[in-house]
Structure formats: structure tokens, C-alpha cells
């Protein structure tokens, strides 16, 4: 049978056993295609760790599909697709097209050396696509997400109370970050280097997660299960596509100056000339007791620090506080702006960001991949179905996957890099009409 121009399908599995889930998610996708897929994108929640493991999940996928079909993916907090919205299970996008060349890339040790990881990954993409005749270039980047640092003898905690000197805390944190590779994802650094290596590629990115503790997440490339890696899918095609980021957060009246920061721009030591944590709590009018390991999810996520990612950017973007080290605040990604604010959002704006995003889409969608901050899923709870219904309105009957991650981005050569937390980021492909 002659290959259709472009076919795409989404599969799903809610089976607990990893191997069975892998088979089901693959089968349920490819049974909708008339030709074998050219690539696969697989997302799963962390539960398979206890039900056979992720290697078995991938083994199950490749029980059904030929081993030369490229696959990238990773663990996510949840996902939505054409079937519904889920905090447990696995989902797979399978695409078959006459008008695409595809390559995958891997880079390792992203938390220790993000640049080196990106260079290696980009090299594989360039090599895989060097003979492609197609003009438009797209890259999906799935990068290992932030993990709570392990700082012996303090252990793994989101809040390290003042006690040790700031210098000692920074030393312990560095040990965790660079030796153990448990700490900040540094995924924005990986992304920046991918852009530097492949500037003509538009990109969609997201950082992998577990289901809450932020202790470990995984990335998938073909049949490999990886940690602390970037996995990328490069596509060269004649198909039209659209990438867009929105967050729809608004500034509160609380503004301040970041007066002392770590060299890498990731740790805020002082705000308004005072110790950062105490000053932030004063500005928010929060008692100290409100912040602890148990209340973390209900507090810090909802009052992110706003700042410009690039000094020339128009708007502040949200930065979530990753962990607290004494009086210092480790952000999930670096801030390049000393002028800061507190941002906020309500349920209506969380939903409206979908319309804001899709309203500039001018193509007829054939399939979509959407990286969305996990906070949107965790905040909306079962109302995430309202978000899914809004997306379906724009995607019509075309398959899509929303994958809920930590740290999201889009890049295009015309609009530059948009990196933020708490955002909604689309990559939608049309046909080549």
C-alpha cells in the first residue's frame, strides 16, 4: 500500500505490568496506521518502576514494533491525550510520513555538564539528518528534570534549615549537583546549547519527572532507559508546523530587587539587601511555619518569582523555587534579571492560556505534542478535563499528547527561546499543503 502523506495516531495503556503496558500502548497506536511508523514518542508515569521497570516497558513496545523504529520519551507526572487525562499509565504518539527524515540523539550527564551533553546529542542529530533534502527542521528535547539534592549528612530534603554556614551548604549542594547529579536539572543550559548547535531547528522541550518526590526520573531512547540525559528527536520535513509558548501569569504588586545571587544565576542569596528567604516571607506576609516539606506543593508553586529570562524580554516569566538552602533560594532555572516580582494566576487564566496559545495557530493540525508544566495538572486536578476539551476544540480529531513536565520551552529562529515554569507549550504539525 502506498504510504499516506502523513498519518499519526496515539496509543494508550493503563495496564500495571510494564511489559504488557508496552505491548498495549504500541499496538493501540499502530493499529490506526496504514504504514509502519517513522518515529515514536513515548511518555509514562513513574509507576512502572515498581511493576517490572522501564526496560520491560520498552521491551514491550519493541515486542510489537521493529527495533529500527526510532523512539524518544521519558517519565512524566501525567499526560492528556485524545483518550482523556491520566496520572498513571503510558501513552505513545506514532507518526508515519512520506515527507520526513528523522534522527535521534542522546547526551549524558546533563546535570554535571549540560553543554557537553547537548553537543554530543546535537552531533548525533546532525549526522542522522545530514543527507535530508527537506527544508523545515524541528527538534523535540526531553531532558532529565530537577531532583531533590542529596546532601549528606542532611539527606534529601526540599528545605534545609539554617544551621550550617551558607558556605558549607553550598559545598554540600555542589557535591550533590556535580558528583551525585542530584540537583537542578540545568535543562535551560542544555537547551541553550542545543540552540547554539542547531539554530535553524524550531524546538519543543520538557524535563522529565516522577510523581512528586522529585527523587528520580528517566528518559527513553530507542530501547535504552537513561538517567541524567537529554534525548532528542530531530525531524526534517516539508510539513508545516507551529510552536508557541504561553503562561498567562500576571504580576502582583510585590516587586523586589535580587541583590546577591550565585555566579550561575540559579541561587538567590539576598533580596533587597537582606537574607532572601526571610525577606521573601516578609514580602508575602507568610509566617515561617507555612513553609515545610508537607506544605511545599500548596505554597511555593503558587507564588513563583517573576523575572525576565533575557534582559530584553518584554514580560516576566515564572521561576519556581526548587529548594531552600538555609536563607538561600535555589530556583529551578537561572534568572538573568535582578528586577523581580511575584506572579500569580487563577483557574480561569490557567485555562485561557490554552486559547491564547492556539489562537495564533494558522495551520490545519495533523498531530500535536504539548509540554505543559506539572503545576497546571496538579492545580486543576480533575478539572484538567476542561483543559483537554479546550485543546480538542483546536486539534479537532487530530491526535495529540500533552505531557506534564518540569521546565518547558519552545524555540524558533524567528521568535527565539521561550523558557519558563508553569507554562503551556505547543508543537503542532500540519500537512505539507
Amino acid at each position: 500500500m502506498a504510504k499516506e502523506k502523513l498519518e499519526a495516531a496515539v496509543g494508550m495503556s493503563r495496564k500495571w505490568d510494564a511489559r504488557e503496558a508496552g505491548k498495549e500502548v504500541a499496538r493501540s497506536a499502530i493499529e490506526k496506521l496504514s504504514s509502519p511508523p517513522d518515529f515514536l514518542v513515548l511518555f509514562s508515569t513513574i509507576h512502572y518502576k515498581d511493576y517490572g521497570g522501564f526496560q520491560e516497558l520498552l521491551n514491550g513496545v519493541y515486542d510489537v514494533l521493529p527495533e529500527d523504529v526510532p523512539l524518544v520519551g521519558g517519565t512524566v507526572r501525567g499526560f492528556s491525550n485524545t483518550y482523556g487525562c491520566y496520572a498513571r499509565g503510558s501513552t505513545l504518539l506514532a507518526v508515519s510520513s512520506k515527507n520526513m527524515d528523522v534522527a535521534v540523539g542522546i547526551g549524558n550527564n546533563t546535570k554535571r555538564n549540560p553543554k557537553k551533553a547537548a553537543v554530543k546529542c546535537a552531533k548525533m542529530i546532525k549526522s542522522g539528518l545530514k543527507n535530508s533534502i527537506y527544508e523545515s527542521s524541528f527538534l523535540l528535547n526531553i531532558i532529565s528534570g530537577s531532583e531533590v539534592p542529596n546532601m549528606p549528612p542532611l539527606g534529601r530534603k526540599k528545605i534545609i534549615e539554617p544551621g550550617a554556614t551558607p558556605k558549607a551548604l553550598m559545598k554540600l549542594f555542589s557535591f550533590s549537583q556535580y558528583t551525585l547529579q542530584m540537583g537542578a536539572a540545568r535543562d535551560e543550559e542544555v537547551t541553550e546549547e542545543m540552540i547554539s548547535q542547531l539554530p535553524e531547528f524550531s524546538m519543543l522541550g520538557g524535563a522529565t519527572l516522577d510523581n512528586g518526590p522529585n527523587f528520580r526520573s528517566y528518559q527513553f531512547c530507542r530501547k535504552e532507559v537513561l538517567k541524567n540525559a537529554i534525548v532528542s528527536l530531530g525531524i526534517k520535513t516539508n510539513n508545516n508546523f507551529f510552536v508557541q509558548s504561553t503562561h498567562n501569569m500576571i504580576k502582583t504588586s510585590i516587586t523586589f530587587k535580587i541583590t546577591k545571587m550565585s555566579k550561575d544565576g540559579r541561587i538567590i542569596h539576598e533580596i533587597n539587601g537582606k537574607p532572601a528567604l526571610s525577606e521573601l516571607l516578609r514580602l508575602l506576609n507568610w509566617p515561617k511555619e507555612i513553609l515545610n516539606e508537607d506544605t511545599w506543593l500548596k505554597t511555593t508553586f503558587y507564588f513563583p518569582i517573576g523575572g525576565k529570562y533575557n534582559k530584553d524580554d518584554k514580560d516576566d516569566v515564572p521561576h519556581i523555587i526548587g529548594i531552600i538552602l538555609g536563607e538561600s533560594l535555589l530556583l529551578t532555572y537561572k534568572s538573568k534579571d535582578s528586577n523581580a516580582s511575584i506572579l500569580t494566576i487563577d483557574g480561569k487564566r490557567l485555562l485561557d492560556t490554552i486559547d491564547l496559545n492556539f489562537s495564533s495557530m494558522k495551520i490545519k493540525p495533523e498531530f500535536g505534542l504539548i509540554s505543559s508544566c506539572t503545576t497546571r495538572l496538579e492545580t486543576m486536578g480533575n478539572r484538567i478535563y476542561q483543559a483537554k476539551d479546550r485543546i480538542s476544540k483546536y486539534m479537532k480529531d487530530s491526535p495529540f499528547i500533552v505531557f506534564y513536565v518540569g521546565g518547558e520551552s519552545t524555540y524558533s529562529p524567528t521568535d527565539g527561546l521561550n523558557y519558563a515554569n508553569m507554562s503551556f507549550n505547543t508543537a503542532v504539525f500540519g500537512n505539507d499543503d
Binding site: 501525567g78 498513571r88 510523581n211 508537607d294 495538572l377 486536578g381
Partner: protein
């Protein structure tokens, strides 16, 4: 009971770490429990189950009153636990789950919603088709 497809939906829900107990219930009655019957609730709530169960029955008075008016969810917090009620539309019945008070409720709500939808689909199936349905 062991072949009850609704019990199998509850079995799946109970496998989640933060679900200590789940059931389909109405006032003064637990209609469906997970497959292991009385042993199916997790040990964490054994000591508080009685008081939570009594409070649940009081909540069901509200559900009975307002379900037809579009009441879809209720919840309460008692000690270190929360009880979530996902009402079956226009009925006096609800899917109920007991979770830790500081659990990641958003993710649990997603799966509660999925379970509610699955149970509603099962309930909507004709009687004889339901006998051969397996989860």
C-alpha cells in the same frame, strides 16, 4: 463480588500509594468495596475509620439533598486525612476515597475522575452485558 467490574475499578484506585481506602457508597451503606472486602483498606486508617465513616454519612445527607441540583464533589478534612466524594450525577451515590491530608490531591483527583467515568460507563451498560465485562 470478586467478578464485579466496579470492584476492579476500585482495586486499581487502591493500588495508588496515597489512596488509603476507596468505595462506592451512599448514606448508611457501602455499596461496593475493592475486591478484598474488609481487608482492602490500608492499615493507616484502621484507627480512624469509625469516626471518618460516621462523618461520611453526614456528608451524604448533603449529597442526597443537592445531587439533583448539580452537586458533583464534596470533601472534608479530619485529623491527618481527607475524604473525597465524587458524586455520580443525579444520584445519592458517590465514589469515596480517603487520602492523607497533605497528599498531592491534584493527581489523585485526576484518577478519581477516571474511576468515576469508568464506573458510570459500567452502570450504564445493560445488565446482561455487565456480567461479561472485565476490567
Amino acid at each position: 463480588m470478586r467478578d464485579d467490574p466496579i470492584a476492579k475499578v476500585l482495586d486499581d484506585l487502591l493500588k495508588l500509594d496515597d489512596i488509603f481506602a476507596c468505595m462506592v457508597a451512599r448514606q448508611n451503606m457501602i455499596s461496593v468495596m475493592p475486591s478484598d472486602d474488609n481487608d482492602s483498606f490500608k492499615p493507616e486508617i484502621h484507627d480512624v475509620w469509625d469516626i471518618i465513616h460516621r462523618a461520611m454519612d453526614d456528608v451524604f445527607s448533603v449529597i442526597r439533598e443537592y445531587s439533583q441540583a448539580g452537586l458533583t464533589e464534596m470533601e472534608f478534612q479530619m485529623q491527618d486525612y481527607e475524604a473525597l466524594f465524587f458524586v455520580f450525577p443525579d444520584t445519592e451515590n458517590a465514589l469515596v476515597a480517603i487520602i492523607p491530608a497533605l497528599a498531592n490531591k491534584g493527581l489523585i483527583e485526576v484518577e478519581m475522575e477516571n474511576s468515576r467515568r469508568e464506573i458510570l460507563k459500567i452502570m450504564d451498560e445493560p445488565e446482561k452485558e455487565r456480567e461479561v465485562v472485565t476490567a
